[in-house]
Symmetry: C2
Subunit: 534 residues, 2 copies
């Protein structure tokens, strides 16, 4: 091994004579371009890969054709230090190309790709926790420049840190805007007997411009600290383009090409599909294969999941799936469902689509802001994560945030911003303190509690905490607490003037030494946050 | 194939000359005994198996040593018709023995082993549904003859059709009665420095009497139509006998011997363990191996599961596990948890241990009869099954039903009997009508509904049903319904004098044409049962 390192050092030294080494930060993107004019199909006939060598590790990544006789290799350095690369190809002109660059240590802990942490949560690879408080904007990236600018402004305002978005164009309900670019080369179109436009694609040729645009969107999100949860397949094609029923070989090629281009972007997650079961030309075996293809083509191990229709669960025990991404409303009607899902899967539980704040005729799009916020709280106190979404039709059915992006018009985004800050800046990851019994009391394991009363309208709360504290040390007597009353639906906090001190009250609970109570304003969606005085 | 059949027919005819063919009913037990005096260890050195041949199938089963120089082969005929068998053995005297018997068709549809049906439910192999309404009697089979008689009388009175029971003796809490027999040969005992009796077992010799006694208990249960959910390992040994930490090879041998004896009993289920995670000398890999050993030694594919401590879930997606057997209270606080578990596992959900009706100092043993009944209802309306249990200490802590059996003193057994009859004789298997949204309304898919209000104290219920009917045809307009108000906790039914007729009331629900309401007596644990008038 030592010999090998020595050899590499010599190599690097030799290279430094001829190449001015680029310097990039860890988790940013290195790109090398190569020109070559291929007489045949550059997408299917030219194979290019690069082996990236660091003194401690080696990764091989696939290159891709980016149009204009240009082939590219992209790479995200996973370690700081000197990196050297060399290309392989079936084409002589692309073979044996080499180069090097220097990678510096990332400067913040809330940077780098996101990965699973502590079984049920997420962290940036640089060490800081990442708490997903995202929203859904299926087709925002295919909208006009001006609408996208509004979307980005709203994402910034709301503080969302994840966006669920489709790679392939979406056609659903009233969202009738046609995208400017498509992922494949359009051979021609014709009009059928019913007057419908029929698209005739050349699936053997990708359209690099489509992907370049997508990459710009991912970078725009990254600039705002937002993870792009990329939905790779979806059923919202409605027989327009046929991207929902491409042959299996095209699906695979599309994944390989997309990942060769995009896996080096640090802020991407892979969602194999939205509502996978509605893509009725694909079987579970097909999905398993596509999940494996995704995993195999991602040298960086980005997060992977797959999302089903209401109450249709994939087998999330599959090792390639890093987390659970479920559409189901009942599990967030209180904390029980999410807590149960944690016990089952022993992976992070993300509930994407639990209903939307909106005014659509469909009941999944009829929640009040308060009702959606309530569901998000139920998931979060149980130690899961729940995605926001807004479907408010204010006169233009072609312009609804969940599909197209644009201006947020609802109330829940403000409440979600409040909850995000409460968790991110203050409490940290939560779980139920007294598993299986107390369905209101969440703990962060460091002495802080968040007790959520949901729809109950209480006039008071007698101070009472379970002795159990999840898997952590039991609560002790004599701990002094400061209490804050939180109104979850409007994100206000009121400090309670009195303090509380724990006293044993039997085998399972702690009361206040003087059995003090907190008076509550008899309304739903209240919580109490308890902070130990140190 | 035809030739083979002809050959067999000749064989049978030849046999019939010398042997008077026994006649037994399908799913009952055929037993053949062979005498042989072995000079070494008859348990470990003598291998015996029998191949049972029917014109349509062949099964090989292991024999066992039953003491007194007697070796036995037991077999449960899975098909009616003529059966022929022949033995194999490493001992010449036991080799090549043969015989035959006639198997007649089972006479009732609620007979035969129980298997999974319709993904989430159970049926007898003869075709009738089996709905588990069981109780827990961990150590009842190790109690005195007189106590066991009382237990059986009470099981009959309560109508329970399943008993969770330990094969190995149990030592837990105050249940200090020592069993008369043990599964292994006792070499000797001695008293240690602390005055404790130390048992020294010969794990290479089973004690046939122990197993004969167990078999008698299983037959007694069968006579009452009760399934024996046999717990093969448990952690309630408390360092007395060491059966909770036997070497892996002994565990395997114990399973093989037990199954050779008992797999031919039609009313057995295998529960690999109770609270498996507390058996701390065994890893998940050990449990996986023991589950596979059980499966391999059961030619009849009896139901298999494994039961954990509170909120600790095994990987129930494992194909060998036929159903889910969970200890968790939160999932039955309403219907959501059980419904969620169905979506995850796509197997029958059995919630064993959701708390007990009782008065113990431990909170798992402090539920009122109403509270336990409520939990059982929550599981059942969601299409799962929940086990009853009673831990009422009425002065003799060594005599608590859940451990020792005896007289039922609580209230919930009566309510469970009522619910069992409602499901078994009337409604059939249930599931939520409007999955993920309506958490109160269960349907049997044939027009009947059971709407359970749980802890809500309602003064009235406006007739309203979801249009969705699970995976089945949507509810239609103009269906006339008869309604009954059920008090779940005391098992009373009151017919409502008015009738109701469905009328569309928007996109998702059906109301009564005249928007009729049912007046309710403002108390918890009420349900409404709707029966279509045909």
């Amino acid at each position: 091994m030592k010999k090998y390192v020595t050899f590499l050092v010599i190599f690097f030294n030799l290279l430094s004579l001829s190449i001015t080494a680029q310097t990039i930060e860890q988790w940013s993107r290195f790109e090398a371009s190569f020109s070559y004019e291929h007489s045949g199909n550059p997408f299917t006939e030219v194979a290019l890969s690069g082996t990236f060598i660091h003194k401690d590790t080696t990764l091989t990544v696939k290159g891709f054709y980016d149009g204009n006789h240009t082939y590219k290799l992209r790479f995200m350095p996973i370690l700081p230090g000197d990196w050297y690369f060399k290309t392989s190809s079936n084409i002589k002109a692309l073979r044996g190309k080499s180069g090097s660059f220097k990678c510096t240590v990332a400067t913040t802990i809330t940077d780098g790709p996101v990965e699973v942490a502590d079984t049920f949560h997420f962290k940036y690879k640089n060490g800081g926790y990442y708490f997903p408080f995202g929203t859904t904007l299926y087709a925002w990236s295919h909208m006009t420049d001006s609408l996208r600018k509004i979307t980005l402004k709203n994402l910034k305002k709301a503080g969302f840190n994840k966006v669920r978005m489709c790679v392939l164009p979406k056609r659903y309900g009233t969202a009738g805007i046609l995208p400017e670019h498509y992922p494949f080369k359009l051979k021609n179109t014709h009009t059928d007997k019913a007057g419908k436009t029929v698209y005739n694609w050349d699936f053997s040729h990708f359209n690099p411009v489509f992907f370049q645009q997508l990459e710009e969107r991912i970078l725009e999100l990254d600039a705002l600290g937002i993870q792009a949860d990329l939905i790779l397949f979806h059923p919202y094609d409605e027989g327009i383009w046929g991207f929902d029923q491409m042959p299996a070989a095209v699906d695979k090629q599309y994944l390989e090409y997309t990942l060769a281009r995009i896996a080096s972007f640090k802020n991407v997650w892979w969602s194999l599909a939205n509502e996978w079961a509605y893509l009725d030309t694909k079987s579970i075996q097909d999905w398993d294969a596509l999940i494996k293809t995704t995993k195999e083509n991602d040298p960086y191990n980005h997060l992977i999941s797959i999302h089903g229709p209401t109450a249709v669960y994939y087998d999330y025990t599959m090792p390639e799936l890093t987390h659970v991404s479920i559409q189901d409303e009942a599990p967030v009607l209180n904390s029980v469902g999410t807590a149960t899902l944690r016990r089952v899967y022993k992976k992070p539980i993300v509930l994407d689509e639990v209903g939307y704040e909106g005014n659509l005729p469909s009941r999944w799009g009829q929640l009040s802001g308060e009702a959606l916020t309530h569901r998000i709280w139920n998931g979060v106190i149980a130690g899961g994560y729940v995605t926001h979404g807004e479907v408010i039709d204010s006169g233009d059915p072609d312009n609804i945030v969940w599909a197209n992006g644009g201006e947020l018009k609802g109330e829940s985004w403000k409440a979600v911003k409040f909850l995000k800050e409460l968790i991110t800046d203050d409490l940290g990851p939560l779980h139920m303190a007294d598993i299986s019994r107390d369905i209101e009391t969440a703990t962060n394991g460091k002495g802080d509690y968040l007790i959520y009363f949901g729809e109950q309208e209480r006039g008071e709360w007698a101070f009472s905490l379970p002795k159990k504290n999840g898997e952590l040390d039991k609560l002790k007597e004599g701990i002094e607490y400061e209490a804050t009353i939180i109104d979850a639906s409007n994100g206000t906090q009121t400090l309670v003037s009195e303090r509380f001190v724990t006293a044993s009250a039997g085998r399972y609970r702690m009361k206040d030494v003087a059995d003090k109570k907190i008076t509550l304003p008899k309304k739903p969606y209240l919580a109490i946050r308890l902070r130990p005085i140190k």
